[in-house]
Subunit: 382 residues, 4 copies
């Protein structure tokens, strides 16, 4: 059996999630190759070695460039802060490695385009970690739509709201600095709901956006501690992002993201209205969806709660019994299955860099729209 | 005890709802005056007399102008189609009668302004039937906000979606004709969610809107029957209306209305996010609200479902026990209480014509925004 | 048009609810007779006169026996504490009056039998106020079952839980005294869920029960104030009542009632499982039900939320649009419609005294079962 | 680092779930030992070898006894049908191996006692796979109760209902045969809700039960196909099981299990009422709980939905962000963590054989109660 040898860069929140998926995926899905956790890079050698031990990787390095160029690494898995994605991906592509990157792909569309074109020219495979589209329920929603069960889509309302920065005393971090993160909640979580809209409805042609930084400055930490001298740093990107969008298929919609939405922990939600029915989803209840169809008898119509089960995409590999529930990490397991099968069985790999570049274009369009107080066509963005 | 003598114009859906409220209100609330169902106007004398008998009114007329000028009518209650509101209200004001009108107040802001100024000049009392703000739960939400329990409001998302025109075979009606109805779902149901935003968040300063007519034409009826010859009439106003808004207090929001939202029967919903908490409401569960506050211990936080009860505004008059549930007509009963107490106890009457005129301005701003593809300031609208 | 002249005894919680229904019912439903609020009885003449003025009754008396025998009273409406129902009903029956009584009908089955037989012998009409079966949603549930949409019923789980006595400092009242109230939550709220089971599933043949008084004593009030001297009275009936039941159609079930169920305000709930589907209802969301049927395609099955609307029983009279919501008092309006139509149009009146007597038998069987720690057949109870 | 070498018997539904947990657990939790998937037993050598390859085990055997006695197996993991648990566990204990067994532990209390005493005498460690108590939400519920946040428990209502046998055409299987499975839904799923009651409320002293086989016979399969000749086999155990229970701490409750509950896919639910609050849980939404406490201000009380997060037990190892959701397999990962830490760090291992024996006693008491139509004290059962 062939092996997919992973080179993981970054071992924070996402690095750990990727690792759980690498370890569990072969026990969940039959795979065309085994997965070898080959090498791991962190900011220095000491930390890298500690993490390799903790995460069960064979080797460790304090220099991501040596990982990217290591002959025993087949795929470079980028779990670093946003501003590093570009250099790492370009280096990996140059070394002929497949790339599995966290989102958003780049700080802006120009960079994303460069990365996409490099990858396509090199003929390597790319996958971007918009994991919520890997949820079997999201796949089921797509199936329902493609079957025509809700007719033609006329409306999409999507949100990705969380409250991890709702407290004004939460300290400043790289995510709030433009040159390290790009936009704020728009790119961080907004990119997820944009990708979901792409997946389920299709291309977005036009956008008008409103952005707002509600908490203008935040306390600076020194050595991980809030400073005594009450130093504050200016927040450089948006806390709230609203958009109205027009899809190429004629549907219209609203998208919304917030990182200060008190009470929302995983508030990726959507409501999709078609000419024959409506679908409602809330990621906080990730194993179910609400479906309304006007083909039920008129006096028995209602939104029904469908619990995901073995008759739906990809669920049976996790459990043969319905409604037993999937979790966040299970989505990453599906994503890793797609990585392995994309490389070894030549299955389609989605969302790839090109798709993620489209997301970056929408992010740029939203920022331009806000700056110029007008609708912006996607065709205006490079 | 004094009497409030009602002159009701129109006995359709809303006329019946008003009548239920006139009859039940004195049994629910202690009132400063009794209510006399004095006179009723319909499109002809025969129908008017039949309806007067059915609804328990003393007298009937086929001519609304004679009702408006009748010396034994104290308040004119306008439950006719939108395009008639203006003439009826102006005539009632001219006759020195108080006016209780259904919404939207007028076909446009210019008309609404004329009506408002006439009413204020005449010193008569006005009340407009945006009944959802009368729901004790809406009053409780306002109380929570005014107490500062969710901090400063930063975000409002509101919808009023229904599906009563989702079926393309539903025939053409006056609501789809611009000169009779004005805008489409924007004015019909959108006006409700706009009024709710005014009530709970405050003035809207700026708006950008997207409007869409999805079902472009509908079958014409002849004598209440669909014609054999498949005649269709062109739909002249919007099926879907989206808006992004900016409030004068700095909050931003999205408003949305649809009359083709499959599965939504009374989809007036809102989510209000503040710096300390969030409120979620859905009119399909009109007797409850969801409240999240960050003052709960961090490991015990969550949205709590508060069932309306006797400790909340106006509920105890309906039932002394919590959670027993209020219905649609109960909101109208509160509204009628406000009508009686506004006139006889000089209590504030809200929403009055001036408030409803503000709603009409927002509707006009939304239409202008859509036409010119840009943000429109409310100060641009007369 | 004929008149139904009401004689109301008792103006507390239920007396007010009845009066709202008397006033609103003719505006909601077309009726075969008008309703005249003729006479009202309270514990003394002064209170009676005050209440007659408040509630809009023509006459008042401090002596319920004079009301019962008044020639201008057609129906005696009993809203007094439980222990008085028997004498009042028997006197009304003796005077040839129809009787509309609150529940439970009597303190025990022996009394209920006497009342039932007297009523049947006299040929008068009876109606008992188990109003939750009048909810259009409950009627819809019955329709679904009778249509065979969920197949044969195999299981019923019902509760009626509230928390109005959850606080041990809530003072002693007549409801806690056996000779005034009979059993505790078993008869007070348990009788509602028993009646619902009768309505929806059918006769109960056998029962085993567990009863418990959790809060053994409560503070005594003197003149409506908690005494300084900390006097307590012993609670004489159950705070919690559990039952397992066997229906005559072979279904089995559990019934449960509590008056100390923290957080439950109107916790009348039921789940009915059939061989083809399941229905779930919660009175705290009284305008909706959940329906699962196995006739949906296997990969699209789920519980659907049906919002009550004009295609369902009795709703259209309240509102022509779906999902606008009914409230507690609306159930009493349906009940009063049944009272009027039962008397003037000879429509079936249900639940009548005989049905309520069956409820009392089940209450007695439960108490006997608990006392003797065994299953009790209903045929053992007189 | 030390190793825990697993010997897995049975590779069906549960065997696969165990294997996912073995592989993922070290990536989720820091462990005191590594996990080696050493040996696997199936019904024959061929199948065993195929499965070992699929599941990533080192070695395979067609004879479970050789696995049990293999010197390189440290723990025997029993995922076989119920009737085999006893022989396998006794053999493993005799060989000095720790035992990790699926539930119910045994076909009856007598067997469970023998197994428990053997294990305790041998000093080996035991763990029984009642995985729902491992859900971080269940742990949080226990924490809330132990903190006294809902006061003293007075009531427990628990269910474990599914519909996997609701269709009468679902063929006969070993689960329906008494000598292979023991009781029906009572032992299969009822044992889960009994264990949950033990975990959260405490010991059960007394029980009265009602059992019912609704679908009396089912089609026989030959070679996995329904026979042409319509052969049916008699169902030998219960489809529905109801119980009323009395706990040693004075609380009372109802327990219910069904395998024919249309629409219920993972219907393990409970409601726990205390003197100060109430907790509601539904395994179909396994990452949340509802909490009501009467310490909230009286006009702001309500059930709040708490989404599990990193401030709650064991969640942070899966994800550092709140509300991202756990799945069915994650519970098994916690269970395996407990297995490893129980053995290598001498942490308490629960539920062990003794606890599972108590469950078996309650199952036996329920069957005796049903047979003799009476309350049965647990002290009556060996």
């Amino acid at each position: 059996m062939e092996k997919l040898r992973i080179g993981l860069i970054g071992t924070g929140y996402m690095g750990k999630a990727h690792n759980i998926a690498f370890k569990a995926c072969p026990a969940v899905f039959p795979l065309s190759a085994s997965i070898e956790c080959e090498m791991l890079a962190e900011v220095n050698q000491t930390l890298a070695e500690q993490k390799a031990k903790d995460l069960g990787f064979n080797r460790a390095t304090g220099d991501w460039r040596s990982l990217v160029n290591d002959p025993d690494v087949d795929v470079v898995d980028i779990c670093s802060p946003n501003y590093l994605h570009k250099d790492m991906a370009l280096a990996a592509i140059a070394a002929g490695k497949h790339v599995y990157s966290e989102k958003p792909l780049a700080l802006n569309a120009v960079d994303a385009k460069e990365m996409t074109e490099a990858a396509e020219k090199a003929g390597i495979k790319t996958l971007v970690g918009f994991n919520y589209v890997k949820n079997p329920v999201a796949q089921l929603v797509k199936e329902i739509i493609e079957n025509g069960e809700i007719g033609n889509i006329v409306h999409f309302r999507g949100t990705h709201n969380e409250d991890y920065l709702a407290d004004p005393n939460t300290p400043f971090s790289w995510r709030l600095k433009r040159e390290l993160a790009g936009s704020g909640t728009l790119g961080d979580m907004g990119s997820h709901i944009i990708n979901m809209a792409q997946y389920l409805v299709g291309d977005i042609n036009e956008v008008v956006a409103d952005l707002q930084t509600v908490i203008k400055e935040r306390p600076l930490l020194s050595n991980g501690q809030a400073e005594n001298n009450n130093q504050y740093a200016k927040v450089e990107n948006d806390d709230q992002a609203h958009m109205m969008v027009r899809f190429s298929n004629g549907a219209i919609g609203t998208l919304e993201s917030s990182r200060i939405a008190c009470g929302r922990k995983m508030g990726l939600t959507y409501e999709i209205t078609g000419t024959k029915g409506t679908i409602v989803f809330d990621q906080e209840r990730l194993s179910e969806l609400q479906l309304f169809t006007n083909t039920d008898p008129s006096n028995r119509q209602g939104f029904r709660t469908i619990l995901v089960g073995p008759e739906h995409p990809d669920y049976a590999a996790f459990c043969v019994a319905s409604g037993h529930g999937l979790g966040y990490n299970d989505q990453k397991i599906v994503e890793v299955r797609d990585l392995v099968e994309g490389i070894f069985a030549d299955k389609p790999m989605w969302p790839d860099f090109r798709t993620a570049y489209e997301v970056n274009k929408i992010l740029d369009a939203a920022e331009l729209s806000y700056k110029e107080s007008r609708w912006v066509k996607l065709s205006e963005i490079e």
